[in-house]
């Protein structure tokens, strides 16, 4: 085999993963290394800037865009376990910095090398997990930003199909928003609750043991609702299952 130099991949650890579920970050490192990447976690990163962007505060959002771009400048690729933050970097960064002569080109280059992790594993690395097994049934929610901003739908399903014993069940309204919406769920809690309740009911009707998704925000929202309703569904990020971590505690389960 010809030795292809392994790409330098910078892992962006979203603020939610950093604080609430670090295991997703470690699952990402494991899968990227299995796929043949050299993984780095640049220390200059914090948050992608979405809270500011979605609040209309583009000055702060642009500052954070520059900071993030600078932190990852030495990497061949930037990979995130979140379609939402990846979507922000791919679409919003170039727009935010379009009028800045020093940064516009850097933002475009950064956007071009940024990927959500399942799409990176499948589309760029051609990776398939080997020897994973999980005897369970699972259903998959297509988080909005990943699906509509980045076209992620086939990749996580292709990866999950490699897990032996895992039976995928359809989810009614799998591409309908779960009601999280970042600050939306805190600003309009009643509307958000009504939306999330419908989602939780669909998840319960699917009869699956496990709910999977590619964004921790959506997962926290759905897991929190399912728990409040007393449902027994366990919730994991897709890559936790792919990395073989589903034998550990699901979201909100004490390890």
């Amino acid at each position: 085999m010809s030795a292809k130099p392994s790409p330098r991949v910078g892992l962006f650890v979203t603020c939610l993963v950093d604080a609430i579920r670090p295991g997703i970050g470690f699952a990402a490192i494991q899968l990227l290394e299995e796929a043949g990447c050299r993984v780095e976690v640049p220390q200059g990163q914090t948050c992608c800037g979405q809270p500011a962007l979605n609040s209309g505060d583009e000055t702060d959002a642009a500052h954070l865009a520059r900071q993030t771009i600078a932190a990852f400048e030495g990497c061949d690729h930037v990979v995130l376990p979140s379609g939402s933050c990846a979507g922000t970097m791919v679409h919003a960064y170039p727009e935010l910095l379009a009028g800045d002569p020093q940064w516009a080109a850097r933002a475009r280059a950064f956007a071009a090398k940024t990927h959500e992790i399942t799409s990176f594993l499948v589309d760029v690395m051609g990776y398939r997990p080997q020897g994973r097994r999980l005897d369970a049934s699972a259903t998959y929610h297509d988080s909005c930003a990943g699906l509509r901003e980045l076209g992620i739908a086939a990749q996580p399903r292709a990866l999950l199909a490699q897990v032996e014993g895992l039976r995928m069940r359809p989810l009614e309204g799998n591409d309908v928003c779960c009601g999280f919406g970042g600050t939306f769920c805190v600003k309009y809690p009643q509307i958000s609750d009504a939306i999330t309740t419908e989602k939780a009911e669909a998840v319960e009707r699917s009869g699956a043991d496990i709910l999977l998704a590619g964004d921790l925000g959506c997962l926290m929202n759905m897991a929190g609702k399912l728990h409040r309703r007393g449902a027994r569904t366990r919730c994991f990020h897709t890559i936790e299952v792919l990395a073989g971590h589903a034998d550990g505690p699901g979201i909100g389960e004490e390890g």
Binding site: P42, Q190, H227
Partner: protein, 473 residues
């Protein structure tokens, strides 16, 4: 426009607690969603048609003055009188003056969102003119004394059972039974006499055809034809963005409109009005007036909301919107509800009054995905959020929260420390994996639990691992 008495949050809360409303919304939007999906599956050239529709509208918008002049010239040549209204007040004044000059007692009106936008129903009432809504749904709305809650199905918030109640008290004699057939018969009987007795018929227009000067109206009930043909005078009110270069362009957009709105291939009735009755014509109005309304549209031409002028009012965005499907149209407080309304209402009513609308969106993008003319609705909502931030309309608490968070996020070392402290503090609030009350995010824990964070952040654990492995960054 008439300012709603309560705020968005109160209206939304009222809607959320109305069980019948939820049933009614689910029925209609659910059916619309399914029918649209079926129609698109049988229309593989939809993407190409959408591109064409978008291009037609963009072309017209870029040359609006040219096509407006062409339309005025051709409509006048066909015998119509063209009037220009810069805002809603002027539009109301023009229409009422025509009615009063003609000494009109009874006016029939076929459904038109623009009529609602300019407050025509109120203006006619104030002028002492009897107004009869001839669209079945508008007839229901009129009996209920309400405003439309959807741009295609104005009475979709009403269940069949509620409509039966309205007809029982509103029709004389009341319908003999409550099956849809009998109820429709009853409405027909009520309206038929009015169609013939009306002095003036008022309609909107789906398209204004520049190269012929014709206006085009589509309906599924035929009521627009009966509204516009028997009376002596026909008044059309239309927004200036309704222009299309030619009849062929109108049909290209019509295909998109109908499939997106109802999942049909064509509407039952598609009528072109080309001036009033001519010598030798058997019937038709003696006078035709066309009121072209700006009301904020030319302002949109020059700003970031320009793309919204492509809207053909199909309603697909609201049918597919998770928020609309929970709260219905009245909660939006303006003429136009749902995603398109959230973009348009601040243009019409001012941002200060309607800033909630731009925020009450999860940014899930489904509306833009289904819009037949490719309007990037979430992007436009974000533009309102940006403007609201710049104009300092956001509450102080929100500004302070974002400011504090951004200050930390811009200093990685400090941010790391704050997250370390934060997760430890958060842990203290929870028991066995979950937190059920969060002091700063009660909105979250009012309805759902919050997973309890582990003791150490990813960054802490990762650094410790790196140090153990003897080096690294």
């Amino acid at each position: 426009m008439t300012a709603p008495q309560t705020g968005f949050k109160e209206r939304a809360a009222a809607a959320l607690s109305d069980g019948a409303l939820k049933i009614a919304i689910d029925r209609t939007t659910g059916t619309a969603e399914r029918k649209r999906a079926t129609a698109l599956a049988a229309f593989p050239e939809f993407d190409a048609a959408r591109e064409r529709g978008k291009a037609i509208k963009d072309h017209v918008i870029a040359h609006l003055d040219h096509y407006l002049e062409m339309f005025e010239r051709n409509a006048t040549a066909a015998g119509a009188q063209v009037h220009w209204a810069t805002d809603d007040a002027e539009a109301r004044a023009i229409v009422t003056r025509i009615c009063l000059d003609a000494d009109a007692k009874l006016v029939t009106r076929s459904k038109s969102m623009l009529g609602e936008e300019i407050g025509l129903p109120h203006a006619l009432a104030d002028a002492g003119i009897e107004r009869v809504e001839t669209d079945l749904a508008e007839h229901i709305i009129q009996l209920a004394g309400e405003r439309p809650s959807h741009i295609v199905w104005p009475a979709m918030h009403r269940t069949r059972e509620q409509v039966a109640d309205l007809f029982r008290t509103g029709h004389n004699p009341p319908p003999a039974a409550e099956d849809p057939g009998t109820m429709v018969q009853s409405a027909r009987r009520e309206l038929r006499a009015k169609f013939l007795a009306a002095d003036i018929g008022i309609s909107g227009a789906n398209f204004l055809v520049a190269d012929t000067g014709a206006t085009c109206t589509v309906t599924n009930e035929g009521n627009a034809e009966l509204t516009t043909t028997p009376p002596r005078i026909h008044i059309v009110t239309a927004g200036i963005e309704k222009l299309v270069p030619s009849t062929a362009h109108a049909f290209a957009l019509l295909r998109l409109l109908v499939r997106s709105a109802t999942g049909g291939e064509m509407t039952q009735y598609t009528t072109f009005h080309h001036g009033p009755k001519r010598a030798g014509d058997a019937d038709g109005p003696e006078e035709m007036h066309i009121v072209l309304v700006d009301n904020g549209r030319s302002r949109m031409l020059g700003d970031e909301f320009r793309e919204m002028l492509r809207c053909i009012r199909c309603g697909a965005c609201m049918n597919h919107c998770v928020v609309y499907r929970q709260i219905g149209g009245h909660a939006y407080g303006g003429t136009y509800p749902g995603p398109m309304g959230a973009v348009l209402t601040p243009v019409l009513d001012g941002l200060a009054q309607s800033r909630d609308l731009a925020h009450a969106c999860t940014m899930n993008g489904r509306c833009a995905e289904v819009c037949p003319v490719g309007i990037p609705l979430p992007t436009l909502l974000r533009a309102w959020r940006r403007r609201s931030w710049r104009e300092r309309l956001e509450p102080g608490s929100v500004r302070a929260g974002i400011g504090l968070w951004a200050m930390l996020a811009r200093r990685p070392a400090l941010y790391r420390m704050a997250s370390r402290i934060g997760v430890r503090a958060l842990r203290l609030l929870g028991r066995r994996g979950w937190i059920s009350t969060l002091p700063l995010a009660r909105g979250w824990t009012a309805y759902r639990d919050m997973p309890r964070p582990p003791g150490r952040t990813f960054m802490e654990q990762y650094r410790a691992d790196q140090a153990r492995r003897g080096g690294g960054k």
